[in-house]
C-alpha cells in the first residue's frame, strides 16, 4: 500500500457532520473512503467525488474535494467525461442501489471500457430517501413499501454484472468489513474500472420491515450465493490513457481540397439532373463528380441523395441542380434531365417521368421497359460496362450530349479524386457514347 505524499492533508472530510439516520451505514463507509484517500495522499482539488441521487447523493458535501452531484443513475457518465477529458484527476463515484438500477447500462459500459473510475455502491437493498421502495438489489421475499407481499424479483448481482463485462476490480462486502479501507485503496489504485458493492443497513426502512443485522447481512449473502470478497481482479489498460496512446500519433485527416474555377459552362439557367440507378452502382459518387465538375466550370451545384437504409440493394438516386448563380436548397418539382440506369432506378424515378414535359430529356440504356413520359427519350448504349462504371459513363455521355458543362471539367474532377484511373476511363467512354447516341 502506498504511503501518503508529504504535505498531503490529514483528512478530506470537512467540519460538517453527516446527516444520516442513526445506524445507517453511509457515514462509516464515507469515513473509510476518507481514510483511503488520505492514505493515498490524494489532493482535494484533483479528486472529484461524483455523487448520484438518494441518501448516498448527499455524500460529496462532507468532503473538501471537488464534487459533482448530478442526476439519478447518470453519475458514471459524468465521471467518465471527467476522466476522459483529464485522466490525471482521481474520480470516485458514490451511488446507491437505486442509481445502480436506473443507470445500469452506464455501469456495465464503463466496466466494459475500463474507464479508470472507482464506483462505491452504498447498497442498502432499498430506496431510503423516497420511503423504502424496492430496488434492483432487494432480495426475493423482502417486504418493502412497494412489495408489501414480499418481493417477487430476483436481486441484481452487481459484481458479476461488471465483472463478466471486463471490470478490472470488483469487491463485495458490508459496511462492517474491517478491511474496507484497504479494499478502497486497492480499488482506487486499480488503473481500470473498479467497483465496490458495499452492503449497508437502512435503519429507516429495510431493517424495520425485514429485521436485518450485521450477521443477517452475511447470512443473506450466503443464502443468495452473492459471496463477499474481491471477486474480480484483472490487469487491464485504463481507457482514457489507452485512448491517448492509441491516437497519439494520428494525423488529422487532410482538409478537403478546394475546387478551382478553371472552366466556363454555357448553362444560362438552373438545370435539375436526376440520376436513378441501383445501390452499389456508385450513382452518388458519379453525381458528385459531375457536381464538382460544374463547380470547376463556375456553376453552383447542389446535390441531394436518396437511398434506402440498407446498402448494396435497391435503388440509389442523386439529384443535382446546377445553376449559373448561387442557389438555395429548394424542392425540385420535375427534373430537366433524368438519367435512368436500371429497373431499381426506374421504379423510384417513375413518378418523375410522368411529371416531365417535352422540354425535358430522359437518358437511358437499351433494354429498360417502355418509359411513359412526354420528355424526349435518348437511349445510349454503353456496351459492356462494369456496374460501378455505368453511372459515370452515362452521366458523362449526358453532359457531352446536352452540353451541360465542358467535358474537360469532368475529366479534371475525375483526375483530382479517388479512383481516378477508372473514373477517367468512364468519362472518356461516356464522351464518345454521348457524341454518337441515337
Amino acid at each position: 500500500m502506498s504511503s501518503p505524499a508529504p504535505g498531503a492533508p490529514e483528512t478530506l472530510r470537512n467540519a460538517i457532520p453527516y446527516p444520516f439516520c442513526p445506524g445507517c451505514g453511509h457515514g462509516s463507509v464515507l469515513d473509510r473512503l476518507n481514510e483511503a484517500l488520505v492514505r493515498l495522499g490524494r489532493a482535494p482539488e484533483r479528486t472529484v467525488i461524483v455523487s448520484d441521487i438518494g441518501c448516498s447523493g448527499l455524500s460529496d458535501q462532507y468532503f473538501t474535494t471537488s464534487a459533482f452531484h448530478g442526476l439519478h443513475g447518470r453519475s458514471v457518465t459524468y465521471a467518465t467525461g471527467v476522466k476522459l477529458a483529464d485522466p490525471s484527476l482521481e474520480v470516485i463515484v458514490v451511488m446507491g442501489d437505486g442509481g445502480t438500477g436506473i443507470g445500469g447500462t452506464h455501469l456495465l459500459n464503463a466496466a466494459r471500457r475500463n474507464v479508470g473510475i472507482t464506483v462505491v455502491v452504498m447498497n442498502n437493498l432499498n430506496f431510503g430517501m423516497t420511503g423504502g421502495q424496492h430496488s434492483t438489489t432487494t432480495p426475493e421475499g423482502a417486504v418493502t413499501a412497494t412489495t408489501p407481499g414480499g418481493n417477487l424479483e430476483h436481486p441484481l448481482d452487481i459484481c458479476a454484472t461488471v465483472g463478466v463485462n471486463g471490470a478490472a476490480y470488483a469487491y463485495r462486502g458490508t459496511q462492517f468489513d474491517p478491511e474496507l479501507a484497504e479494499r478502497l485503496v486497492e480499488a482506487i489504485e486499480t488503473p481500470g474500472f473498479a467497483l465496490l458493492d458495499v452492503w449497508e443497513l437502512c435503519t429507516a426502512h429495510y431493517v424495520k420491515a425485514n429485521r436485518l443485522s450485521r450477521r443477517g447481512m452475511e447470512e443473506l449473502m450466503e443464502e443468495l450465493n452473492l459471496r463477499p470478497g474481491v471477486l474480480f481482479r484483472r490487469d487491464v489498460a485504463e481507457y482514457a490513457t489507452a485512448y491517448r496512446r492509441a491516437h497519439g500519433t494520428d494525423a488529422p485527416p487532410p482538409p478537403p481540397a478546394a475546387i478551382p474555377v478553371e472552366f466556363a459552362a454555357r448553362l444560362d439557367r438552373p438545370r435539375a439532373i436526376v440520376v436513378a440507378g441501383s445501390a452499389g452502382g456508385r450513382v452518388r459518387s458519379a453525381a458528385r463528380l459531375v457536381g464538382e465538375a460544374a463547380i470547376r466550370s463556375g456553376l453552383w451545384a447542389v446535390q441531394r441523395d436518396d437511398y434506402p437504409v440498407t446498402v448494396q440493394t435497391g435503388y440509389s438516386l442523386a439529384e443535382l441542380v446546377l445553376s449559373p448563380s448561387p442557389q438555395a436548397l429548394l424542392p425540385v418539382p420535375a427534373p430537366d434531365v433524368l438519367v435512368v440506369l436500371s429497373t431499381d432506378g426506374l421504379r423510384r424515378a417513375g413518378p418523375m417521368l410522368a411529371s416531365m414535359t417535352a422540354e425535358g430529356t430522359v437518358v437511358t440504356v437499351p433494354g429498360l421497359a417502355e418509359l411513359a413520359t412526354d420528355a424526349r427519350v435518348v437511349v445510349l448504349d454503353p456496351g459492356r460496362v462494369a456496374k460501378g462504371e455505368l453511372a459515370l459513363t452515362l452521366l458523362a455521355a449526358t453532359v457531352a450530349r446536352l452540353d451541360l458543362l465542358p467535358i474537360d471539367a469532368l475529366r479534371a474532377a475525375a483526375a483530382a479524386g479517388p479512383f481516378s484511373g477508372a473514373n477517367l476511363a468512364a468519362v472518356a467512354a461516356g464522351a464518345v457514347i454521348g457524341a454518337v447516341g441515337t
Binding site: 447518470r74 457518465t77 477529458a85 458528385r288 451545384a301 438555395a328 436548397l329 429548394l330
Partner: protein
C-alpha cells in the same frame, strides 16, 4: 476556390474552428455524419471523441468533460433530444458551456429518419423542466452551419449555458457549393476561468461568473440541486430566488448580444416573410421573385430562434399588415410571431409531409 460541402461537415468545421476539444454522441440519422467526422478529427488534434452507450451517456460525458475545461459538443436528432432532456436541465442549472446540435428529422417518435422536418423548434425551447431560458441558433444555409456553430461555442462560453444549433436533414446531408474564402478562420476567446473563490455568482443577476475547472485551482463543487454560490445545496428562499433569477437574467438581460437575423426590408412592403433554417432558402427566393414581379416585399431570416429576437421582429413588422411564416411543422414559431404581431394578419405556410416548401407556396401566401 470553392468547396462542395454538406451541413454536417460544415458544423464539424465550425466546431473545430471554434476550438472544440470534446465530443460524445450516439449514432442517429441524420446526425451520424457529425459523430463520424469528430471521431476522425478530434483525437488527432489532442481532443477526445467517444460514442456513448446511449444519448443520455453522451450528453452526460460532455457535461463532465466541460467541467474540466473542455469545449464540448454533442449532436443528435429529435429522438436523441428527448433523451437529453434531463441533462439539458443539469447543464442549465450547473451553468455548463455546451453545444448541442439537433439535426431535425420528421417526428414524432422515430418519425422519418431520412425525412426533413422543423418540429423541434418549441421542443428545444421547453425541453426540460423548470422553464428557464436557453439559446438556440438555426443556420439557414450550409455556410451558416459553419459560422453559426462557431458562434454557438462563443455564446456557450459567454453565457455558461447550453446552446442549441438546429439544422435539419436537408441542410445536414445536401452538398452545396460554398466559397472557400467564406470558411474563414474564427477566433473564439479562451474560456473565462477563475482558480479561487466561489464557483458561482448570482448577483448582480445578469452577470455571468467565470467558470472554475476541476484541477485548475481550488476544489470545485457542482450540483444539479438548488444551490448557493459555493454550489452547496440550499433551502434558503433568498438564495434559491437569487439562483433562479440569475439563470433567467443572465440571458434575458443580454438579448442584444444574442440576435442574429438577416433583415431584407423594402419600404412600402405590405408583406413580411419570416423564416428560419432550410425554409429560408425558398423564403428569400419568394421575396426576390415578388420584387421582380413589381410587388414590394420584405423578408426576415431569423438565425437566433431563442431567445426570440423581438426587437428585430417588431422593426421588420413595422408598416406591414401581413406576415407569412413558412415552416416544416404546423406553426410552431408562428406562435411567437403572433404574440408580437398585434392586428397584423399572420399566415402560416406549413408542410409536414417530408418535402421542402416550394417558392410558389410562399408567394401564394404573400398575396
Amino acid at each position: 476556390m470553392r468547396e462542395f460541402l454538406d451541413g454536417n461537415a460544415a458544423v464539424v468545421r465550425g466546431a473545430l474552428a471554434a476550438g472544440c476539444t470534446f465530443f460524445a454522441g450516439y449514432p442517429i440519422t441524420p446526425a451520424s455524419g457529425i459523430l463520424m467526422a469528430m471521431m476522425r478529427e478530434l483525437p488527432a488534434r489532442g481532443g477526445v471523441a467517444i460514442q456513448g452507450e446511449d444519448e443520455i451517456a453522451s450528453i452526460g460525458m460532455c457535461i463532465g468533460a466541460a467541467m474540466t475545461g473542455a469545449r464540448a459538443m454533442t449532436a443528435t436528432s429529435g429522438p436523441g433530444i428527448s433523451l437529453y432532456s434531463e441533462n439539458i436541465g443539469l447543464a442549465i442549472m450547473g451553468e455548463v458551456p455546451l453545444v448541442i446540435v439537433d439535426v431535425q428529422r420528421l417526428g414524432p417518435a422515430t418519425g422519418g429518419a431520412t425525412t426533413v422536418g422543423q418540429g423541434d423548434v418549441q421542443f428545444v425551447r421547453w425541453g426540460t423542466s423548470g422553464g428557464y431560458p436557453i439559446i438556440a441558433l438555426a443556420p439557414s444555409s450550409v455556410l451558416e452551419c459553419y459560422t453559426v456553430t462557431a458562434r454557438a461555442f462563443e455564446l456557450a462560453e459567454r453565457f455558461r449555458s447550453p446552446v442549441f444549433v438546429l439544422t435539419d436533414k436537408e441542410l445536414a446531408m445536401t452538398l452545396t457549393t460554398v466559397e472557400a474564402a467564406a470558411l474563414e478562420p474564427i477566433e473564439v476567446p479562451p474560456r473565462h476561468l477563475a482558480a479561487t473563490g466561489a464557483p458561482y455568482r448570482f448577483e448582480p443577476a445578469s452577470e455571468v461568473a467565470p467558470m472554475h475547472a476541476y484541477g485548475a485551482g481550488d476544489p470545485v463543487r457542482f450540483t444539479g440541486s438548488t444551490h448557493d454560490v459555493a454550489a452547496r445545496i440550499t433551502k434558503d428562499p433568498a438564495a434559491i430566488d437569487a439562483l433562479n433569477r440569475h439563470l433567467e437574467a443572465k440571458i434575458a438581460d443580454h438579448l442584444d448580444e444574442l440576435v442574429i437575423a438577416d433583415a431584407d426590408l423594402q419600404p412600402g412592403a405590405g408583406t413580411l416573410v419570416v423564416s428560419y433554417g432550410v425554409t429560408a432558402g425558398a423564403a428569400r427566393e419568394a421575396v426576390a421573385r415578388a420584387r421582380a414581379a413589381g410587388r414590394a416585399a420584405s423578408g426576415l431570416v431569423v438565425q437566433s430562434l431563442w431567445p426570440v429576437p423581438e426587437a428585430a421582429l417588431r422593426e421588420a413588422m413595422a408598416g406591414v399588415d401581413r406576415v407569412v411564416v413558412p415552416e416544416l411543422n404546423l406553426g410552431q414559431y408562428r406562435l411567437e410571431i403572433e404574440r408580437l404581431a398585434g392586428p397584423r394578419q399572420v399566415v402560416g405556410v406549413n408542410r409536414v409531409d417530408g418535402e421542402l416548401i416550394g417558392v410558389e407556396r410562399i408567394m401564394e401566401a404573400m398575396r
